[in-house]
Subunit: 542 residues, 2 copies
Amino acid sequence: MKLLIVGGVAGGASAAARARRLSEDAHIVLFERGPDVSFANCGLPYYVGGVIAERGKLLVTTAEKLRSWFHLDVRTQSSVEAIDRKNKTVRVRELATGREYEEKYDKLILAPGAAPLRPPIPGLDLPAVMTLRNLGDVDRIKARVDAGVKHAVVVGAGFIGLELIENFVHRGIKTTVVELQDQVLPPLDKEMTTPIVAALESRGVTVLLGDSAEGFDAAGDGVSVRLKSGKKLDAQLVILGVGVRPENKLAVDAGLDCGPRGGIRVSEHMQTSDPDIYAAGDAVEIVDFVSGDPTQVPLAGPANRQGRIAADNVFGRPTKFRGTQGTSIVGIFDRTAASTGMSEKMLRRANRSFRKIYIHPAHHAGYYPGAEGMTLKVLFDPITGRVLGAQAVGGQGVDKRIDVIAMAIQAKMTVFDLEEAELAYAPQFGSAKDPVNMAGFVASGLLRGDHPQVDVESLPGDATIVDVRTPAEFAAGHIPGAVNIPLDELRARLSEIPADRQTVVYCQVGMRGYLATRILLQHGRTVHNIGGGYRTWLLYNT
Amino acid sequence: MKLLIVGGVAGGASAAARARRLSEDAHIVLFERGPDVSFANCGLPYYVGGVIAERGKLLVTTAEKLRSWFHLDVRTQSSVEAIDRKNKTVRVRELATGREYEEKYDKLILAPGAAPLRPPIPGLDLPAVMTLRNLGDVDRIKARVDAGVKHAVVVGAGFIGLELIENFVHRGIKTTVVELQDQVLPPLDKEMTTPIVAALESRGVTVLLGDSAEGFDAAGDGVSVRLKSGKKLDAQLVILGVGVRPENKLAVDAGLDCGPRGGIRVSEHMQTSDPDIYAAGDAVEIVDFVSGDPTQVPLAGPANRQGRIAADNVFGRPTKFRGTQGTSIVGIFDRTAASTGMSEKMLRRANRSFRKIYIHPAHHAGYYPGAEGMTLKVLFDPITGRVLGAQAVGGQGVDKRIDVIAMAIQAKMTVFDLEEAELAYAPQFGSAKDPVNMAGFVASGLLRGDHPQVDVESLPGDATIVDVRTPAEFAAGHIPGAVNIPLDELRARLSEIPADRQTVVYCQVGMRGYLATRILLQHGRTVHNIGGGYRTWLLYNT
C-alpha cells in the first residue's frame, strides 16, 4: 500500500498517524506545502499577544518526530499541484528548488485545509493588510506589531478576528473591528453577542457593525481603510478575517465532486467521488448532525476525527463520520461565548419549528464566593423536546454547560432529560440545580404547558405587562408600558390586572415571573412569562 | 388538599415550592425541626474556614420568603413526632414551647434527611467532639475554632471530612485525619485517591489510614483520641465524619417499609408503602441508575429532584425518578476529585464484568499557558462498551469531564460515542482531542483489539516488560524489571525482545506505549500496553 496524504496539519497529520498505527508496512508520504507540520492553528492569535511566549510551543509535533515515531515519509515545502486520477499519480513541486516530480499512489487522502477569503478590495495587497492562517502569517503579523502598531483594524468579527483583537489590546493597540453583519460572532444568534460587544467596548475596542471595507490606501507607515459608510480608519495593521474557503483547486481540477460552497464532497466514510481518494478537514463538505443538511465547519476537532476515519477506510475499516454539530467556543477578555447544534437563525433559515428558552444562572452556588453570571439559551423541538442547539455567554463555566449539552445533542436527548441530568455539585463547581437542569425545567415547563412563555421579540401589543420585581428594581429600569406589582403582593392585587385581556409577566431572570405565571394561570388568566425576564429583554434592547 | 411536609431543607423545600406552583389553593404546611429552612448544607465547611464570610449567605431562602412568595405555612422549630396513618394525622411538638398538637393531612411528604452516624465510642459526648449537619453545628464548630484550636482530628475521610480539613488548614490548624478504610474518599477507587493524599500531606495534614478512634478522653482544653493502632492524638476539636444514616424513626414507627440500611422505601414516584405518604431526599432508598440495585445517596441534587417528583405525584402528575448515578465531586486545596456511575469496587462487589482505562491528559491545550494535568479513569462494559462509570482527579477541568461523562451514562452511551463527542475547543478550554475523546479512543481501541491493555494490578509475571520512554525518563524511575528501548529505536531493536514470550510495554502516560503496541502486534508479537503508563503504575505504587 502506498498512501499519499496532502496536507500536514490537523486532518492530514491525524490521518498519517492513524495510517501507520494500522499498517507497519505501508509507504506513507505526507506532503505539506508549508515548512511546518501539525502546528497549533488555534494558538496563533495568542502568540501575537505574547500570551504564548515561545514560538516553539506552536509546533504540536515536528517532521522529525513523525519520522522517528511513525516512520512517515514527511515532505515539507512540497506542493501537490495536480492529481492524475487515471494513472493514480500526483505531481509534486518542491518549493525550495522548483523541482517537480510525480508520485504514484494506491490511495490518496486530501487534507488541504481552508484559506482565508480575500474579497476583491482595492489595496488588498498592501503590506499592512494581512490574513492569518499559518506560522508564516503569524510571524509577519507579530513582526509588524513588535515594530510598533498604534492602530489596528480587524475586518470581520468572527472567532479568529475577536481572538486577535484581544491580543492586540493586550499589546496596547487601539483596535477597530468592522463587520458586515449587524452582530459580532456571526455563528451565534445576535442577542447572545450583546455581552461580547459590551466587553469589547469596555476595553476600548471600536465596534462597527453593518459596515465593510471598500478599499485600502497606502498612508504614511500604514493604510487608510475606506468603509462603505464613508468612514475612514487609519491603521498600521489591517487583518482580514472575513471567513475561509476550502482549498479545493486540486480537487476541482481533478474533477472531484464539490458542493455549492466549494467543499469537497465525501461520503460518511470520507471517500470522495473517486473511490481511491479520501478527503478530510476544513476542505470537505460534511453533514450537519442535527439538521441533516450539508455544511462546512472549519474546526480542528472534526478535522482530526475525519483524518482518522479516512485512514481507517483506506485500510479497509468501514468507520463512519457521524457529522458535525458545530460545537465551538471563543474567549474574549473575561467573557466566553460558545455554541453547539443549530442556532436560532439556522433553524429559521431551515424553516424548522422550534421553541427556545433563556436562563441567566450563576456558574456555581451563589453562596460560595466568585460566582459569575452566564446566559444560556436552549433551542428545542416544540413537539418532542429534542435539544436542537444551545448557546451560552458569560465567564467561568460556559464551556462546561455547552459540552454537557453537546453530549445531549449527540445522544438525541430531550429537554426532559436535561431536567434529570445528574451533574457534579459542590459549591465551587455548580449548583444543586445546575444551569443545565434549570434550562431543562424551564423548557419542559413550557412544553408541558405549566410555564407559558413569550419571546421578547414577539410581545403581544394588547397585553397587560406586569413587572413582578420589587419597586426598586422597577425604578432602575423596566420594559416600556409595564406596571409594577411585586410578586409578594400579586395574590392581593389580582384585581388590578384586567381579566379580559392577556397578561405578560416578567421579573429579572424569569423565576419570579414563572411563579407569577403559575398564580395567574390558576386564577384563570391567560398569561405568559417573558423567558429569562428583563435580562433577556436587555439582550435585545441594548 | 392539605399537604404536610416534614423537613424544610433540600427535598422538603423543593417539594413545598413545587406543590404551590401546582396548586394555589392547597394548604401546604412545612415543618422544620431546626430554626432555618433551606440552608446551604454544602457550604457549611467553608463558613468554618472563612471562605464564606457571612453567615447570612448560608440561608438559601428564608421562612419569610417561602411565606410571601409561596404562601406556605412554614413552621420552624417544629418537630413531627409521630404519624397516625389510620387517622391521617401527625403529632407535632413546638420545640420552643413544648406544646404538642395534631395536624391532619390528605397527603404527607417525608423529607427528614440523614443524621451523622455516632458510633458508640466512649467519650463521644465530650464537648470538643462534634458532628456537622446544620447551622447550629457549624456555629459550635466555628466558635471553638475562633476561640483557638491548635490541633484538630477528623475521624472519617469522606467528602465533608476532607472539606473541613481544607478549612481547618486555612485557619492554621494542624490537622490529622483518621480513616478506617485504607484510603481517603471511600466512594472513589483507591488508586484515584493517591493524588489527594499527596495534596493533604503537602499541606501538613497527617493522614492515618486503616485506623479508627476507640475512645475520647478529656485532656486539658480538649480531648485525647485513642486509636485502634495504639496511637494517641491530642486535639482541641474532633470532628466525627464517618457517614450518615437516614432519619427514619418517624417512618419506622409508622410501619413504613425501610431497606436494610434504613432508607425509606419508595416507588419511582417517590411513594412509600403507604399511598398517602411520599418521601424524598437523604432518608430514602433509591435505585442506582447504572446497576439497578437499591442504594442510598445523600446528595443535594437528587434530593431536590425527588422533592419535586413527590409533589408532582401528590397532585396527580405521575412523574418518575430515574434513579441516581451518584455523581459527586469534592475540592481539596487545588485538587478536585469527582466520580459518576459505578466505581471499580462497586463493579467488583456486584461481580459485574468490566474493563477500564486510564489517561493522564492536560485540561486544555498544552501549548496554551496554565494547562493542568488530570487522571481520568473510565469503566465500561467489555462487550457493548457501555460507559458504567468514571472518576477523575486533578485540577481545573475535572468537573467538566465528569459532567460530560455523566450525560453519556444517563444516555446509556458507549465508549465509541465518547470517541465522537464534539466538545468545545479553543486552547483555553480544551484540546482538539478532548480528554473525553482520548478516553473514548483508548477504551475503543481496547475493545476493538487494536490496543491490548493490561492493568497495573495484573501484570503477568513471565512477560518481558519494555519501557519505551527515553533513557532519561527511564533513569528517573521505572517499573522494576523493565528494559528500556525508546520508541524511536523500537523498530531497529525488535530482536532484543524475546519472541517466545509475551511482552508488556509502557511509557509515561500510554501514548508511546500504544504506538509500540501497534508496532509489535504487526510483527506478530503478543503484547499489551500498560494503560495510562508509568503514571498509572505510580498511582498503585506510591
